[in-house]
């Protein structure tokens, strides 16, 4: 093992994480949650069209590989005249993907809030939307923290796929250094180590947040 290479490549890789992996994950997650919220609300809607569209969306996202989704957007869309740079392509693909998975989590969380909470909201005079927004979603949010954190952790790892559409993130830096130095084992293990540390930090944070939120959930 070449420890000099380990240390000298650590800087660029961390930079790849800080300038690529982390912002890509954060941006995609935030946008993905927004999409998920819309899809989840569509899915529980009594409007058949809305719930049908929501169901189809989830089915397509979960039924096709993320890599294929990414390639359709980056390499496929130009065929119909939509040419996107690597970064926007990656953010769109990842947020659409997170949107599909997180929609199911949020929907399940909404359905897990006891029916009495809807009724209490109506009893004090709230409309369906008001009850959803002020009573149900805050409670659903607490229930969805653990599964959503898992989605986020998966997303962080999945962003390595963005290297395949030329986004400069952690794994692409590793690939570049490896191609140049031929030290594949060292550099890919080093990349793995950095992903692992990031995920460790995230799951520690997750445990803490869960403990704090646990108590406000209805019986």
């Amino acid at each position: 093992m070449d420890f000099n290479l380990f240390w000298s490549s650590l800087g660029p890789m961390l930079l790849g994480a800080i300038k690529g992996t982390i912002p890509l994950s954060l941006a995609s997650f935030v946008l993905g949650l927004l999409i998920a919220l819309i899809i989840a609300v569509m899915r529980i809607s009594s409007n058949k069209l809305a719930s049908g569209v929501g169901r189809a969306y989830v089915s397509i996202i979960r039924g096709t590989p993320l890599l294929v989704q990414l390639f359709v957007i980056f390499y496929g869309l130009p065929a119909i005249g939509v040419k996107l740079d690597p970064w926007p392509s990656a953010i769109i693909a990842f947020s659409l993907n997170v949107g599909g998975y997180a929609a199911e989590i949020i929907r399940a969380a909404i359905l897990s809030v006891p029916r009495g909470q809807w009724e209490a909201g109506h009893m004090i005079g709230m409309s369906r939307n008001q009850t959803l927004l002020r009573i149900i979603l805050p409670q659903a949010a607490r229930v969805s923290v653990p599964p959503l954190s898992n989605t986020f952790i998966s997303l962080v790892k999945d962003t390595s796929l963005a290297s395949l559409i030329l986004v400069t993130e952690l794994f692409r830096v590793a690939q570049q250094v490896a191609a140049f130095s031929r030290e594949f084992m060292l550099l890919y293990l080093e990349a793995a180590l950095i992903y692992w540390v990031i995920c460790l930090v995230l799951s520690t944070a997750q445990t803490r947040v869960e403990k704090r939120l646990d108590r406000y959930v209805a019986h």
Partner: protein, 268 residues
């Protein structure tokens, strides 16, 4: 909040409701004069909860008329919803039901407090968010009401930090803060440990003495006898017997009422 006249706050005529093939209410009539308390009793599954939920717009009856009177007859009119009138569009019906619901408030068997809100936030949510009343005024009223039920010091606690009896008292305060014409209680003490029941019943008794108009579903016959002006015994979706509490509970005329009262007394 003392009764000034004896006009009916609630009038129910021919209320009917079926869940699929299961007909739960078969033409219920009910009149509650202002300031009076009606206790609804009857075996499990007889339709008591369904009546209350229909009055509060949580259940859509198939037929029947519900009228809730005005607080102040000089500025407001009594409001009638005719559920049998099929001509009303879905949207118009929803608006009617919402208006009806605004005049009553319900206390649930399982409290149904908002777990993510403090006691005070639970109480002021409706008045501030829905009724759009000034927050400072609502908070002051809420604090007074909480003090009345002995929970002044719990104003910033969360529901999970309270006993069942305390939670139900918050449930009652939440209903009162809406300033309804009519209070609906669905077995308000049946989810409580026995030693917590009396505090909650005492609060309800006080409200009765104060002149609130109430419909209470309860299995607490002693409480019903002390508090209710009228007891209505129902079974199988119909009213079997009704009358002054002393009569229905002590000397019921109908065989089914006799059997029910006897069974409940023996359980205790």
């Amino acid at each position: 909040m003392l009764p000034t006249d004896t006009e009916a706050v609630l009038q129910v005529r021919g209320l009917t409701k079926a869940f699929g093939s299961n007909t739960v209410l078969r033409g219920i009539d009910l009149v509650v004069p202002r300031g009076k308390v009606v206790a609804l009793i009857g075996p499990s599954g007889s339709g008591k909860t369904t009546i209350l939920r229909s009055l509060n717009g949580l259940e859509m009856p198939d037929a029947g008329k519900v009228t809730v009177g005005a607080r102040d007859a000089s500025t407001e009119q009594a409001l009638t919803v005719d559920f049998g009138d099929a001509a009303a569009s879905k949207k118009a019906r929803a608006a009617e039901v919402a208006a009806l619901r605004d005049r009553s408030a319900m206390v649930f068997q399982h409290y149904n407090l908002f777990p993510h809100k403090t006691v005070l936030q639970n109480v002021i949510e409706g008045p501030v968010q829905v009724q759009k009343r000034p927050r400072s005024e609502v908070v002051a009223e809420a604090e007074k009401l909480l003090a009345r039920v002995g929970l002044a010091d719990k104003r910033d606690a969360y529901p999970f930090e309270l006993s069942g009896g305390q939670q139900q008292r918050v449930g009652i305060v939440r209903a009162l803060a809406l300033k309804p014409q009519l209070l609906l209680f669905d077995e308000p003490t049946s989810a409580l440990d026995p030693e917590l029941v009396d505090d909650v019943l005492a609060v309800i008794k006080e409200l009765a003495d104060e002149g609130w108009t109430m419909v209470i579903v309860t299995h607490e016959l002693a409480f019903a006898r002390q508090t209710a002006d009228e007891v209505v015994f129902m079974d199988g979706g119909v009213v079997v017997e009704r009358g002054p509490a002393s009569q229905v509970l002590r000397n019921p005329k109908e065989e089914r009422t006799q059997a029910f009262v006897r069974r409940l007394l023996h359980e205790i």
